[in-house]
Amino acid sequence: MISTLFEIFKSNMVQIPLIQPIIDYLMQIPLINFIVALILWRPFFAVVIIPGLTVLLLYLLYIVWFERKLTARVQWRVGPLEVARPIRGAIQALADGLRYFFQEAIVHKEAHRPYFVQLPILAFIPILLPIAFIPAGNVVGIKSPYAVQLVVAFLALIPITIIAIGWASNNRFAFIGSVREALIYVSYEIPFIIAVSSMIYLYGSGDPYVAVEKQSIVPGAIMNPIAFLVFIIAMLMATSRLPFEIPEADQEIAFGPFVEYSGMLFGLVMVLAYEKLYVMALLFVILFLGGWSGFYCELLGDLNAPLWLFIKTIIVISILAIVRSMYARYRIDQAVRYSFSWLIALSIVALVIGIAVGWIV
């Protein structure tokens, strides 16, 4: 049994020439070789190492610090500095996380206790599942020709958990926040799906490999710039970032659905939006920025593709981080109006362009 598993793992390992001697050495030791083979097994490597959970954690540490630092820079400030001063406070996010971890998580009397505690954890399922379907070169969890559609479908599940969190909190502001989340959900989801489907029409398939292959000369962003724009705005709305930070709006409804959370649970719901942003940015890079294609380095071997994907994603998110310091928050009715008028119109134009370009190509 174990030997069959070992054979399966061994037959489908990530090839990295840089560390190949070390792997060869480790493969000779019993038991260790099983673990190494498991880690380097392509599906496992894609989901757990890169672009999966491990780099997701690294990304979280980075983006929280970077966003604060960049905002501070725009705002004539310095930003987080005192935690690890030599590296300009880079582990501030870690310190915050530790603080959340050791803080008491209070569940108030009138909350629905099981849901209140479980929902922040349940919300991770629709975030982590898409990662299994997003390929990076030949490092892939589950290979599927409908990967893009699946990712979009899983992403649509996240707001439902947030709405349920608001219900479980049993608080006025959480309730208002849930209603806002529901409103903004319907308003961004339609343009978002239309924009994605325009790209699917353009590439003629929902398979990321086809999409990346078709972008080998011209990236999707240039082929369909309108869809590119719609996707970015929908991404801002979906991850409740300014100027669409409406469901959380701390000055209006005091963090909306998350008003009652504290401690570790608050830490979990806080990173929810960032993780969603990560998954959407992965999709964005695949659809518009040529995915994992880039300069190929012989030494890295199979690691090339995931690295390129990750670097592109990080760059996209880092650029998006500046929006936080530029805009005020729209009102909910304005946001809904914009998305149902301008954004849907733009997305339909994008669909037409997608069909046209796809027909030509």
Binding site: R73, W76, L81
Partner: protein, 248 residues
């Protein structure tokens, strides 16, 4: 002057979006940063900054003026050879009415504005602690100066530190002494004697003692050369027959 109406055309709207994005990216690349990293950098303060109050004991005449004018009731006079003011920094609001009230310039302000105390008890600074600036352990290595010109505002950082200054401006006042204007109205209550911190008022002919022994009748007071003109007796006198006069 009327405020101009803001135009609603989409083109203007787009222009404004571009303006915002331009400004944000400009600041992200070349920020006009104004933050001072406080404990590691020190700002250059103007000389008239109202900070920690320093006492010169040799000048103090125990006139209690500082304690009586204090709006926050933060000054307590404590006995230490004579009465000297001690400031409770839990209450002090740094209005420096006491410094302005001091007729001899015994109190002076310094540019020390950031003080840390170990406990609330320590914040009640005693007169002998007010004699000099408190010993400080500082982390700052460089000083920051605001350079303001017509062109703009920027911070200049220098790797040098200035010492904290004590600014003592002496008031233009001649020495004064108490005088009795109307001895005929004296009640003989000897309140002035009781209150005088310098024992400058003496009883020349007292024939009543406080122990209830009747010796004789009446008392006569005399203000001696010891008087420094603190004016406490002037304020204490129930008949208001004393007053301060300048002497040569």
């Amino acid at each position: 002057m009327k405020v101009e109406k803001i135009s609603r055309s989409p083109l203007e709207e787009l222009k404004r979006h571009v303006g915002v994005i331009q400004e944000a990216f400009k600041q992200a690349v070349i920020p006009d940063r104004v933050t001072i990293e406080y404990p590691r950098e020190r700002r250059k303060y103007p000389e008239n900054l109202r900070g920690f109050i320093v006492l010169d004991k040799s000048r103090c005449i125990s006139c209690f003026r500082c304690a009586q004018i204090c709006p926050a009731n933060a000054i307590q006079m404590s006995y230490f050879e004579n009465f000297y003011p001690g400031i409770d920094y839990t209450k002090c609001i740094f209005c420096h009415f006491c410094v302005e009230s001091c007729p001899t310039g015994a109190l002076a302000s310094s540019t020390l504005h950031d003080m840390a105390f170990k406990s609330l008890e320590d914040m009640k600074v005693k007169p002998n602690q007010m004699m000099r600036l408190p010993a400080a352990i500082r982390e700052d290595v460089q000083s920051v100066e605001y350079d303001v010109t017509k062109k703009g505002w920027r911070l200049i950082r220098k790797m040098e530190l200035e010492d904290i200054k004590v600014v003592r401006i002496l008031p233009k006042l001649k020495p004064r002494r108490a005088f009795c204007l109307e001895p005929e109205s004296c009640l003989g209550c000897r309140q002035c004697m009781e209150v005088c911190p310098h024992e400058a008022i003496v009883m020349e002919r007292c024939e009543i003692t406080l122990e209830g022994q009747i010796v004789g009748k009446g008392c006569v007071l005399k203000i001696t050369e010891k008087c420094v003109g603190c004016g406490l007796c002037v304020r204490q006198c129930p008949m208001k027959i004393l007053s301060l006069k300048e002497v040569e």
